[in-house]
Each structure stands twice: as C-alpha cells, then as structure tokens.
Amino acid sequence: MLEPGLRAVTAALKKPVPRPLVKGPNTRTMVVATVSACLAYLLVVFFWGRFMDPGLYAVNYADKFLAPGAGHPFGTDFMGRDMFFRSIRGLSTSLVIGVIAAAVSSVIGLALGILSAVVGKAFDKVVLWGVDLCMGLPHLVLLILISFMLGKGAYGVTVGIALTHWPELTRVVRAEVLQLRSSVYVQAAYKMGQGRLRVALRHIVPHVIPVYLVGVVLLFPHAIMHEASLTFLGFGLPAETPAIGVILSEAMKHIATGKWWLALFPGLMLVVTVVLFDLIGDGMKKLLNPHSGNL
C-alpha cells in the first residue's frame, strides 16, 4: 500500500510530458540564427569594402551634393563621391582596426587577468594599479596623448586603440579567475599537489574562456567608436582614406548649408555595426552560459 503522497508523485510521473507551449524554433536556435545573421552581415561589409573597386567612390564633380535618391542611395559629397560606397569602404577599415585592437587587447587582458590571479598578491596589486592608471585619464584623452606621441596618423590610432582596451577585459577575467580559485574543485587540485600553472591551464582557463570571448566581442564596438572619434577630431586616419570619422568630419563642414545626408547615413551605418556587435556579444553570452543556453 503506497503512502498518499508517494502515490501523488507516481501519478505525476506517469503523466505525459507537456509539449512546449510555443511552436517553432526554440530560444537556442533563435539565438544561433541571430548571431549568424549578424556575423554574415559584418563579413559581407568587411569583404565588400576590402575588395571594392575604388572607382565606385571616385571623384566626380558633375554629381556633387546630390541628395539621396536612385543611383546614390546615400547621396554624394562635395567632390561628387558616392557616400554609400565610401561608407562601406570606411566601415571595413573600422573593422580592421577593431580586429587588431581586439586581438592585442584580448591577449594582454587574458594574460594579465590570469596571471594576476595565479601568480600572487603582489603581482595582482601591480596589475590592478595598472588598470586604475589607464582608467585615471578619460579614455579619449589617453588616446589623444598616445596618438600625439606616435605622431598622429593610422599607426598612432591603431596602436593607441590596441593598447588601451585591455583594462576592462583584465578586470572581467581577473574577477572570474578569483571566483574560480576559491571553488572547491580548484582547491582540491591544489591540495592534491598540482602546480599552480597546471591548475591554471587545466582547471581555470577552460572556465574563463566563455567570459573572455564575450568580453572580446563586446570590445569591438568600443574600439570602432574610439577610432571614429579620434579620426573625427583629426588625429586618426588621414583625410584621403574613406573612414567613417573622416566622412563625418567632412560632413561637419557642410552641415550649415543643409547637407544632412552626409552625416546621417554614414553614422547610421556605424551605429548598426556597433549594435550588431552588441547583439553577437549578448547571443554568445546566452549560448555559452549553460543556465541560459538550453532554454
């Protein structure tokens, strides 16, 4: 004779599993689809811009200051260059700088973050001090100083942006490592006599990777916006390169005469790119976290 409570449980277990209420693809599929779509768009922009025929945005004084319309969806500028193709080309330049910045900053960030949590207290203090030091100046001011030191131009911007985006990533990675270090399985590994380096590589790094990847993706938008800002102020890419910052600083000269399209569309393209990176970052966060990845 079963207890009443137990009977209720067995009855509940015998019931068929309810079907999902929502029909169609589940969250995971949706997130994967979103991330893939964003990535595809960015790749298309990147390769299209990289291997574009410069003739598409060549100078053509016959068509200067055309408002957006058929033939020139984003209009043309004071030299009759097509703004649509210039924007695509400029975005691809921004993406290159974003990739370089993310690559360099992510290596610095990962290395410092892991080392500071693994090597010891003193080293950790030094790293934290370095992070605070880099954040002690407004980011834009630091970038201006670095670009000033390197004599302006593309080289200065790229180096500046590559070298100043590690502090936030380092903080994130360090916090994660600290948390992992105090977890039982890591402590157990130490007690069983495994070396610090071995524990770091075998037990800590694999768990840091998801946080790290998301951090790297979310670093792109910052890098791209800073590149555009520096270029806009006149420190970055030279005036003849088609870059979003250059385009917008030229647009500023013609805004008083009502050439609104010169600023609106190229900037909008930049915003879309940044938003897409954010979407990819958020999607990856969901996918890589087992708590939200299988909804």
């Binding site: 030091l133 001011v141 390197l150 916006m225 006149g234 917008l248 008083a256 900037g267």
Partner: protein, 327 residues
C-alpha cells in the same frame, strides 16, 4: 573612526594614482617626435644654432626625463602651467577661462541625464517586459552605440539648420561685444550642446536603473511588502527607490571619464570654446604645455568623480559601512 580613516585611505590612494597619471601623461608627451623648440619658434625661424642651443639650455630640454618631469611638476604645483603656443597666453589663464564653460556644459548634461535617466529607468523597469519597456531598452542601446559627435551633428543639422531655432555654434553670438552678451544669449547657445551631451550620457544610467529596479522588485522584501498590502506606488517610493538611488548616483559619478570624452567631441562639433576643443587644438598644433595642462584637468575631473563615487559607495551605504574596511 573607521569611516574617517577609510575616506582618508581612499583619498591617499587616489592622490598617488593622480601622481602616476601625471607621470604617464608627461612621459607620453615627452616621447613625441615633436621638437618643442621648432613648435615654439616655427619651422622657418632664422635663429642661429648658438641661439637655439641657448634656448635648449635655458628650457632644460637636454636634461634627463625625470629631471624635466620634476621641473614641470614643481611649476604646476606653484600654479605655473607654462605658456600656450596656440593662444599666446599662459596656459593657466586659458584653462581657467575655458574650464568654466566646459564645466557648465558637463554639469548641466550630467544632472539632466542623471535625473531624466533615473526616472526613465524606473518608469520602464516597473513595466518590465511591456512595449514601453522594450522601446526604452532599444532606444538606450542605440544611443549607447552612437558616437557623441554623430548625435551632435544630427542635433545641429535638425534644430539649428533645418528648424533654425538655435545658433550653429560658439558660446556667444558672433561679432557681439563681450559686454553686450546677455544671459539669454548664453542660454540660447547652451541648449544644443547640453542636449547632445545629455542624450549621449542618458543611455547608461537608464539601463542601469532599469536593471537594478527589476532585480529589486524580484526580491523577497518586495513580495512581503505586497503581502502587507502596500500599493505599487508605496512599494516604489518606500523600498525600490531607496535601494536604487545610491548605486545609481555612484554610477553617474563614475561616468565622469566618458562625460569628459563626450564633452570633447561635442565641443568640436559646436565650436564650443571649452577645455575639450583647446585640448584638440593643442594636440594638433604641437602645443605641449596646453596639451599637458588640459590632460591634467581631465585627469583631475575623473579623479574627483571616482573619489566621490568611492566615498559614496564605501561610506554612505550602510551595508558597506557596517561591514567596515575597504576590500
């Protein structure tokens, strides 16, 4: 008292950091390939080699870097920032005059974005998941992804060029004597830059407040308050806002770094004669004293923002205060 020692410790640590930041700025600028002598006398000067050497000697340009830093820092502490090449005036005067303009701009935008963002965040957070909430979220995400100067350009082209409501730039009407400039003139010129900077900074604080509110509303003491029969308005006023206000203010103070960057970009767009545009001009003209001076002002500004944030977080929050110590 523990709190007083805590504040003192924070201040001391941050002063040390400020010193390090000044060293960093000095080293960065000193390593620039720009010859200060050429920047000062111009590339086509007819000075003889001996005269040039005398100037180099007088300025101490051939001294080692630490000695130059000490000389510069000593002068700064005495209030002597050197002379600006761009404006042909002492840097201290240039900064004093311009910082006031930048400060007004930043503080207005800071306050406006803080207050509006806070209430917008609460309004959207209590309707979590609704159309309004989603719209606010998307709006803020887009604003956060838009560069400050682009928003400035759009504001300018719409309100100043298309509608003609506001002047296109500068802080006072062009061609008007300084004595004739009225307060109304100043406000008229201030509106668009403040609007731009407010829009640029509002996204962060709104999203933060919203997130915090959603978290707080899900906690047990809110459920208990509901069970006691408190209305939604009472819960928000008595419990939610009290829990969110302090972290939100802290976040707002900690965003001084971004505020300064946004200000620099907005000043360039609106030809606003503040520190940001002076810094840009200095860096473009190789005007080292002014560049260092303005960079230092930026560092000081961030320093005070972080200091206030740290003190607020560590001292005013009863939970942290009771816990004692700064971990």
């Amino acid at each position: 008292m523990a709190t007083r020692r805590g504040i003192l410790f924070v201040i001391l640590r941050m002063l040390l950091l400020l010193f390090a930041v000044s060293v960093l700025s000095f080293v960065l600028v000193a390593m620039a390939p720009i010859d200060p002598l050429v920047a000062y006398v111009g590339p086509s000067s007819t000075l003889s080699e001996e005269a040039k050497e005398e100037i180099v000697e007088h300025w101490g340009l051939s001294d080692p870097l630490p000695a130059r830093y000490l000389a510069w820092a000593g002068n700064i502490l005495r209030g002597d920032f050197g002379d600006s090449i761009t404006y042909q005036r002492p840097v201290a005067d240039v900064i004093r005059e311009r910082f006031l303009l930048s400060f007004v701009l930043m503080m207005l935008a800071w306050g406006l974005s803080g207050v509006l963002g806070f209430f917008l965040g609460i309004a959207s957070g209590i309707r979590g998941g609704s159309v309004f909430d989603r719209a606010v979220k998307v709006f803020c995400l887009v604003l956060q992804s838009a560069p400050a100067f682009w928003i400035g350009l759009l504001v300018l082209s719409f309100f100043a060029v298309r509608l003609g409501w506001f002047p296109i730039g500068m802080a006072v009407p062009m061609g008007k004597l300084a004595a004739d400039v009225t307060v109304a003139d100043r406000i008229h010129h201030l509106v668009l830059p403040v609007l731009t900077l407010t829009v640029v900074s509002i996204g962060k604080i709104t999203l933060y407040t919203r997130q915090k509110l959603v978290e707080t509303m899900g906690s047990d003491f809110i459920l208990f308050a509901r069970a006691r029969g408190e209305t939604q308005g009472q819960i928000i006023r008595r419990h939610a806002i009290r829990n969110i206000a302090l972290p939100a203010v802290t976040v707002q103070f900690a965003s001084f770094s971004e505020l300064f960057g946004g200000m620099t970009l907005a000043e360039t767009v609106f030809a606003w004669p503040g520190v940001g545009s002076a810094m840009t001009a200095a860096a473009l003209n190789g005007d080292v004293p002014l560049l260092l001076g303005t960079a230092l002002i930026g560092a000081l500004f961030v320093f005070f923002g972080n200091l206030i944030a740290n003190v607020l977080y560590g001292v005013l929050d009863p939970r942290v205060r009771e816990g004692g110590g700064y971990a």
